[in-house]
Structure formats: structure tokens, C-alpha cells
């Protein structure tokens, strides 16, 4: 759901750029505080993976298609919406610059809905649900919610831009992304299960608050199970 150039008036694009830059500031601060050396490869692989998966448009009913965003996955892997903003920014920048997917003028708007909204919704809904439903079900629901709400925010952006009428936009985007969200949820959970199996030490939910040696102990415990 990359917004193309021309869908949003330039002055509104500027506002989204400002929001994006503020969000990126927080992301880089987060990285400075939390991004361990050993998480760098994971970050790179997740970015490449999200780029790849975004190309895989899955057919859904009503003659349309949709792809995974991956923001929820990143937010849950790192337990930080800041990470989702940073990775989605990199992916969307490459897509806009090299492949013309999503316009350059609307890069801010795209990062705001897919990275910021997607990441924040996923993070907080995962946090809230985790205790009641267990982490995988929580991750699935969080992923669905993050994609669905990101799509509705896109509909609102389109309405503010005067491109979509509000009710029709919300209904259409909601209807299509209701189904795309199911794909997002399944893939998010599958990747999380796989990562928990092969590299439990990389998942933030396996790490204790105080990092360092305890991290290794915790991850070894998990690995031993």
C-alpha cells in the first residue's frame, strides 16, 4: 500500500516528512542505547527480508492483492516500535529511489503509516495481549491490527489529501486489508517461531531487562529447553 506521488499535496507531504524525521530521531536514539553489536546482522536480514516479502503480492478476494508490511515483526522482535520505523524507512527509501514503488515526495507519509503507525500499534497491542493470550497469538493479533490500522490511517491521509472520500476510503481500505492482515499475522508468527527455534538469543522477549551476561544465560536457558 505504497502511496504514489501525486496522491498527497506537497504541503501535507512536508508535514509527514517532519513527523518522519522526529520519529527517526527517536529511532536513532533507541539504536544508540539498545542496538547491540550482535543485533546488527539481524537488523540487516530483517530489512532485506521485508524488502523481499513486499514484492510478493498475494491475491485476496475482490480482484485485489496485498503484501506483508513487516513492521509488526520488527517491533516485536526488538520489542521497540523505533526499530520498525528505522527498518521500514530504509526499505521504503530503497523502494522509492530504485524501483519507483511509493513516491519520493510521499516517503514521509509512507513511513508514517507503515513504519510509525504499524510499529506502534503492533508493539502496544502485543504488550497488552501477551499476558492473556500467550506471545504467539498476541503477535498474530498485533500484526493483524497493525496492518489494518495502518491501512485505515492511509485512508485518512488520503481523505486529508482530498484524494479519497472518507467513508468510502475507510470501507475499501478496511475491507481489503482485513484479508491482507491475515497473511501478515500468519507470516509474522511463522518468522517469530522460526527465530525462537534457531536464534532465541536474538529475540527481545527472551532478554531480561538488564543486558549483558544475563542475556547470554537467559538465551542459553531457552536454547536448552
Amino acid at each position: 500500500m505504497h502511496i504514489p506521488d501525486g496522491f498527497i499535496p506537497l504541503w501535507q507531504c512536508a508535514i509527514y516528512y517532519v513527523i518522519m524525521i522526529v520519529a527517526l530521531y527517536f529511532s536513532l536514539n533507541w539504536a544508540r542505547k539498545n542496538l547491540d553489536e550482535r543485533l546488527i546482522p539481524l537488523m540487516a536480514v530483517l530489512a532485506a527480508g521485508i524488502f523481499a516479502i513486499m514484492s510478493m503480492n498475494m491475491p485476496i478476494p475482490f480482484g485485489t492483492s496485498g503484501h506483508m508490511l513487516g513492521g509488526a515483526l520488527v517491533a516485536i522482535v526488538f520489542l521497540a516500535p523505533e526499530a520498525a520505523v528505522l527498518i521500514l524507512f530504509i526499505v521504503l527509501l530503497v523502494q522509492a529511489l530504485i524501483f519507483g514503488d511509493g513516491g519520493l515526495t510521499v516517503l514521509g507519509a509512507n513511513v508514517v503509516n507503515m513504519g510509525l503507525v504499524g510499529g506502534v500499534v503492533a508493539f502496544f497491542s502485543f504488550k497488552a495481549l501477551q499476558k492473556f493470550t500467550g506471545k504467539y497469538l498476541a503477535a498474530g493479533i498485533a500484526a493483524w491490527l497493525s496492518l489494518f490500522i495502518a491501512s485505515e490511517v492511509t485512508a485518512v491521509q488520503m481523505w486529508l489529501a482530498g484524494t479519497f472520500p472518507l467513508i468510502e476510503g475507510l470501507a475499501m481500505m478496511g475491507l481489503y486489508h482485513f484479508f491482507i492482515g491475515i497473511i501478515e499475522a500468519i507470516l509474522t508468527v511463522v518468522v517469530l517461531i522460526a527465530l525462537d527455534k534457531v536464534r532465541p538469543d536474538l529475540l527481545a522477549w527472551n532478554r531480561k531487562k538488564n543486558m549483558g551476561e544475563k542475556t547470554l544465560e537467559a538465551s542459553e536457558e531457552v536454547a536448552a529447553k
Binding site: 547491540d36 540487516a44 532485506a48 523481499a52 498475494m58 480482484g63 485485489t64 492483492s65 519507483g100
Partner: protein, 99 residues
């Protein structure tokens, strides 16, 4: 990078490349949710403000091979950029020093 991390990167890139090879064949060419919504409410297509080297993940003159190659190029570029960004902004201080 530890051996484990090398495996992670290699496995990750292989999965990405498998997706890149399959994608041009099995990905749906139907418009995506946003494009379809735009069609439904009658938004006209607009010319992009800027000409990208591989528009719509294609390389001119090459059919499916071009799509696969374009995706592979994108995957590698994204991987490298994300790696460099993460390297530049990684945590500087040891865990004890940061509050």
C-alpha cells in the same frame, strides 16, 4: 561477526532470493489494496515525479529474469544499507555504562 550470525545472514539472504525467484511467477498482478481503493473511488493515475532506474521492479528488455534480477539487486542493496546504518548507530557504551 560470529559464525552463528554469518549463518543467520546467509540463511536470510537465501530465503530472500528464493522469494525473489518465485515472486515474479506467483505474486498476484492484481492491483494492491490501496491502488484498488483508488480505482474504486476514481482517482486518476499520476506520473511519478522522478524516474527510477528499475521502475516497478523490472529491467527494460528482460522479462521475468529482469524482475528476479531487480529484486535480487534490491535485496542486496537493502541488506547492505541496513547493515551500514545499524553499524553507524549501534550502541557505543558497554551495558554497565549506559543507564
Amino acid at each position: 561477526m560470529s559464525t552463528k550470525d554469518k549463518y543467520l545472514v546467509i540463511a536470510g539472504v537465501i530465503i530472500c532470493l528464493v522469494i525473489a525467484v518465485m515472486s515474479p511467477f506467483i505474486a498476484s498482478s492484481d492491483p494492491d489494496g490501496l491502488e484498488k481503493s483508488a480505482e474504486d473511488v476514481g482517482v486518476p493515475e499520476v506520473e511519478a515525479s522522478y524516474e527510477s532506474p528499475f521502475p516497478d521492479y523490472t529491467i527494460e528488455g528482460l522479462d521475468k529474469i529482469g524482475e528476479i534480477a531487480a529484486l535480487a539487486i534490491g535485496i542486496i542493496i537493502t541488506l547492505i544499507i541496513a547493515y551500514i546504518v545499524a553499524l553507524l548507530f549501534k550502541r557505543r557504551s558497554p551495558p554497565e555504562a549506559s543507564k
